[in-house]
Amino acid sequence: MTDNKVIEVKGLHKSFGDNHVLKGIDAVITKGEKVVILGPSGSGKSTFLRCLNCMEDPTGGSVIFNGVDIADPKVDINVHRQKMGMVFQHFNLFANKTVIENIMMAPIYVGKKKLKKEKNYNKASKKALKESVYAKAMELLKKIGLEEKADAYPSQLSGGQKQRVAIVRALCMEPEVMLFDEPTSALDPEMVGEVLEVMKNLAAQGMTMVVVTHEMGFAREVASRVVFMDEGVIEEDGTPEEIFDNPKSERLKSFLSKVII
């Protein structure tokens, strides 16, 4: 845990069959940073983000999280993923579980494993675990104003509510970094704001965040660093001012001219 690096990516490559998507990416994400990733569709933004928690196995290079190369197949990825929250474009809430169950499931699963390891797995300790996770889950739900939806099923929520619950589900694991893959792209326009609001609060609390988004306003306001990806490489990397007001590469200029009206 030297020098505040949360994630360090070295020489990352990813291919799907013959499709060479990521062509050597090096990046460092330090504690508390808010990195926004921009780039045209198909440039490999999602693939890059999904390699950060090894939802996609990199075909080359390393992803060092808290000093451990999690791209190494011998590493127990599940343990590390518990500390890396991920928010998806399509929410991916568990359809067969209520809101509160969605949030509590993973912390309880992890907590029970821990109790078993400590040889302290009994009725009382299980009950205490459930109560503490429930309290934490309800507190988080309250913060996003959805405590009255605790017993609703995801199908009974609006898109914006689903995404806020998905963020809380990830937060309840107390992650060290949050990865967002176009969290507002599947939402109706009037619901984008409520999700961005939750993300801004999270940023203000000091969470380390990596966000793929097309919300340029959010990038300008929240990002400490903006990364522009194109054709599987990082084309440009800088502060929001450098990227938006002073783009250097032709590709970034042409990209910005298309997205900023």
Binding site: F91, A106, Y153, R169
Partner: protein
């Protein structure tokens, strides 16, 4: 019709006064236990096979496992249940030096057989669940198997419940072959009643009615279960 009422009286006499009902009850019990145990064993085997067959096929061991599963499914779907029953009872078990009661052998064979069918049903069910569900579960740190057990398979089962119900009904009906290995079932019970008087019309009619009633009841049960499982879709 006088003839009919005479036949009915004879049948009733054997069924009620001469203890024929005992065979019927035993037969019905056997039919239901064989079908239920067969279904449960089949769900376990079918889920294991289906899960093995939807694994990403990068590794050689997974592809080998897939071939073994395919062979198993092909074998059990490619032969009639009655043949499997006879082979198990008269060939495989004696060769292994084992002897089980015929009802137990029937449960095993029904489980193995329905496992093959249910694996195909379950595979379709698993594939019908949005891949995002598995991703969501993996992203919070569930292992592949925990994610499958807690999130994907419950949704798959909900999706395939009507088909699973049909499989159960098929199993109930197929129990009418277990008398081939000497187990009491509805067919054997009524066949014996008929054999007492060489009069089979009423006994077989009664057998048909019992099957229809049992299957109607099962169908209603499945409908109720489906409704209660549909909570998440409101």
């Amino acid at each position: 019709m006088g003839n009919f009422s005479f036949r009915f009286e004879t049948f009733w006499d054997i069924l009620v006064n001469k203890g024929g009902y005992r065979d019927v009850i035993t037969g019905l019990q056997n039919t239901m236990t064989i079908a239920v145990v067969g279904l449960l064993v089949g769900i376990v085997i079918g889920t294991l096979i289906a899960t093995a067959r939807v694994l990403p096929k990068y590794k050689r061991i997974v592809r080998m496992l897939d071939s073994v599963c395919k062979f198993y499914v092909g074998l059990f779907r490619g032969t009639p249940m009655v043949v499997q029953l006879l082979v198990f009872y008269y060939v495989l078990l004696p060769l292994m030096g084992l002897r089980f009661p015929s009802v137990v052998v029937a449960m095993i064979v029904f489980g193995l057989n329905s496992g093959a069918y249910i694996s195909e049903i379950m595979r379709a069910g698993i594939l019908s669940v949005d891949p995002g569900q598995l991703e969501g579960a993996r992203s919070v740190g569930f292992s592949y198997s925990a994610a499958m057990i807690k999130v994907v398979i419950p949704q798959a089962i909900k999706n395939i419940l009507p088909t699973l119900g049909n499989e159960f009904i098929a199993l109930v009906k197929e129990t009418s072959v277990v008398s081939f290995v000497g187990a009491m079932d509805l067919y054997l019970a009524f066949q014996r009643i008929g054999a007492g008087t060489y009069e089979f019309m009423i006994p077989y009619l009664a057998m048909a009615v019992i099957y229809i009633v049992v299957i109607c009841l099962i169908t209603i049960g499945i409908k109720i279960m489906e409704r209660s499982l549909r909570k998440g879709d409101r």
